[in-house]
């Protein structure tokens, strides 16, 4: 099967800034693919390379097997949901959604009917006559989605589409996007800096760091088997044990990741002892920082379990397999 999007050693340099630096990736057709990373890590530039708003300074980009280095955005069967939605303020919702058909020369009747269908798909029936300025953030987001889908793209690109929404709405839209992707079977490529969002929605996650891909894998691989210290730290803020510490607990002498929720507090079989320096209440549990010889460890105590006092000495217990050995760096 040909990949929906393929990057072969792709680079995009802006002067001396290497926004994207030798990226290889392959996105299988029909997957929900997340590009995760902090700002400036190159994830958005990668998305713009797919849509054609940026041209690579090196390497090759293939969309469904076709080299599209010389293909302008308007001839790529790829559509984008913009971070700021980029709805046309002078057109009503129906004309916004139908825009892709309008520029193709589809007659008014057909394109308006189709626009209504797509508005129904995103649950905005009857909103066609309104102007984008009269809609809420969540509604604008849906209009942007409908507009991007009207040309039946083979790949849908989403640039932090939920970033401007409040938490409650964001969670609802996450579920909806996921359901929509499964229903339509289109490849979705999604840029986000929110690791929770990437893990909960995507089939595959690429973690970006400084213009390069630090790791590609399924959400559980990324979370449970981070390959580098950066991934471990960025995705779910893990404890990173130094090589020296890891070897003390029977692992190879390389840095190891140890998730806060894998550590229990208890004296029996304690691998380490330390003093509690901070407690942070998080609702579903409490994150405790324990100062241990050679550093500090975060421990997540779920609700209902007894909490130690600040300054108390505690023992820390974890299973040997909870420690995940990483590469150097």
């Amino acid at each position: 099967m040909t990949a929906a999007v393929e990057f072969l050693n792709v680079s995009r340099h802006f002067g001396s800034v290497r926004a994207v630096d030798g990226v290889d990736l392959s996105i299988a057709e029909g997957t929900f693919f997340a590009m995760l990373g902090p700002s400036g890590s190159g994830k958005t530039t990668c998305l713009r390379l797919m849509s054609g708003f940026e041209q690579p300074t090196g390497g090759m980009i293939r969309i469904f097997g076709q080299d599209c280095s010389a293909v302008p955005p308007n001839r790529r069967n790829v559509n984008t949901v913009f971070q700021d939605y980029a709805l046309f303020p002078h057109m009503n919702v129906r004309d916004n959604v139908a825009y892709g058909l309008m520029v193709k020369g589809v007659d008014k009747r057909t394109r308006h009917d189709r626009a209504e269908e797509l508005l129904a798909l995103v649950k905005l029936e009857g909103y066609g006559a309104r102007k984008p300025g009269e809609l809420s953030g969540g509604q604008r987001q849906r209009v942007a989605l409908a507009r991007a889908l009207i040309n039946e793209p083979r790949v849908l690109l989403l640039d932090e589409p939920l970033g401007a929404l409040d938490l409650k709405l964001r969670e609802a839209m996450q579920d909806e996007l996921k359901a929509l992707q499964q229903r339509l079977g289109i490849t979705f490529v999604f840029v986000t800096h929110d690791q929770g969002e990437a893990l909960s929605m995507a089939d595959q996650v690429a973690v970006f760091s400084q213009g390069k891909i630090a790791q590609i894998g399924t959400p559980s691989e990324i979370y449970e088997k981070p390959r580098t210290r950066f991934v471990a730290d960025f995705v779910g803020s893990s404890n990173v044990l130094t090589a020296e510490m890891a070897s003390r607990f029977g692992a190879p002498a390389r840095p190891a990741s140890l998730r806060p929720e894998s550590i229990r507090i208890g004296d029996e079989g304690a691998r380490l002892r330390g003093h509690v320096t901070a407690l942070r209440y998080l609702g579903s549990g409490t994150r405790i920082v324990v100062a241990v010889p050679g550093g500090e460890l975060s421990v997540f105590v779920t609700k209902g379990h007894p909490l130690p006092e600040q300054g108390a000495e505690v023992g820390l217990v974890w299973d040997a397999q909870a420690m995940h050995v990483m590469e150097e760096g």
Partner: protein, 323 residues
Amino acid sequence: MSLTAEPSRIAQPARAILPTRGLGDRISALFWRHPNVLLITLLALPLVWLVVVYLGSLAALLLQSFYSIDEFSGQIRREFTLSTYGELLQPANLDIIIRTVAMSAAVTLGAVVIAFPIAYFAARYAKGHWKALFYLGVMLPLWSSYLVKVYAWKLILAREGIITWATDGIGASAVLNGILALPVIGGNSLSTSYIGTWLVFLYVWLPYMILPMQAALERVPQSMLEASADLGASCWQTLRTVIFPLALPGIIAGSIFTFSLTMGDYIIPQIVGSSRRFIGQAVYQLQGTAGNIPLAAAFAVVPIVIMLIYLTIARRKGAFDAL
């Protein structure tokens, strides 16, 4: 930071409310308690100016236009009449109006065509030094005297001027003569033709088109152009369906300047062009040598009415929807 500094601060505990420091603080407090007082203070002077000087003189003008002149005594008859407006419809006067409106429209159209690429460059591509250069380039002509510029143009356009010399030099004098041989807009030389008048108007009012247009284009987010291309639009389609409608308020604003400034001008057509009169010249002569203030006022009302009609149509067409 040493701890020894602490006791002195504790010895004199900070007050919750600070003492006033004089008149400035008391005025600030007054404005804070009564925001309307601030508003009135800010607006009083400009409002007096606007209402009394500006709208007042406009009302006086309007009033004058409803008076008429006694044909025998030459005195102004201060009685309401529409006969002065009737005079505007006489063929000679109507010609002046049509000539002026046509010239204003041509100047506006020319200004839109020339200003758009410049404004687009400034809004989308110019950064840092280039932006400064743009503003300098657009504003620089405004710093020199209007009369000097117009006379300079007369020299450029004259039969003995640089344009004739240059076209001769490259062997294109046939083209220039062909243009001058055109009916109505042609003439003896560029400096005595409508083309010359149009060129000078265009030059003098162009900054007033570029600046609002650039401001409007600058407000069109890059993502909107990208969205249009992303959905399959060609450059031309994006220009027509996204950029132009969104820049329209700026274009309208600019066209108000170029249109009304051309309609009111009486110096350029006097220096450069055929000797046929424009509204400005008619007003100048009627209120001066002819002493026919009512007709001058009626002439002066024409541009105002035309602008009001123009703005109404523009608003109906949705030119201000994107504001």
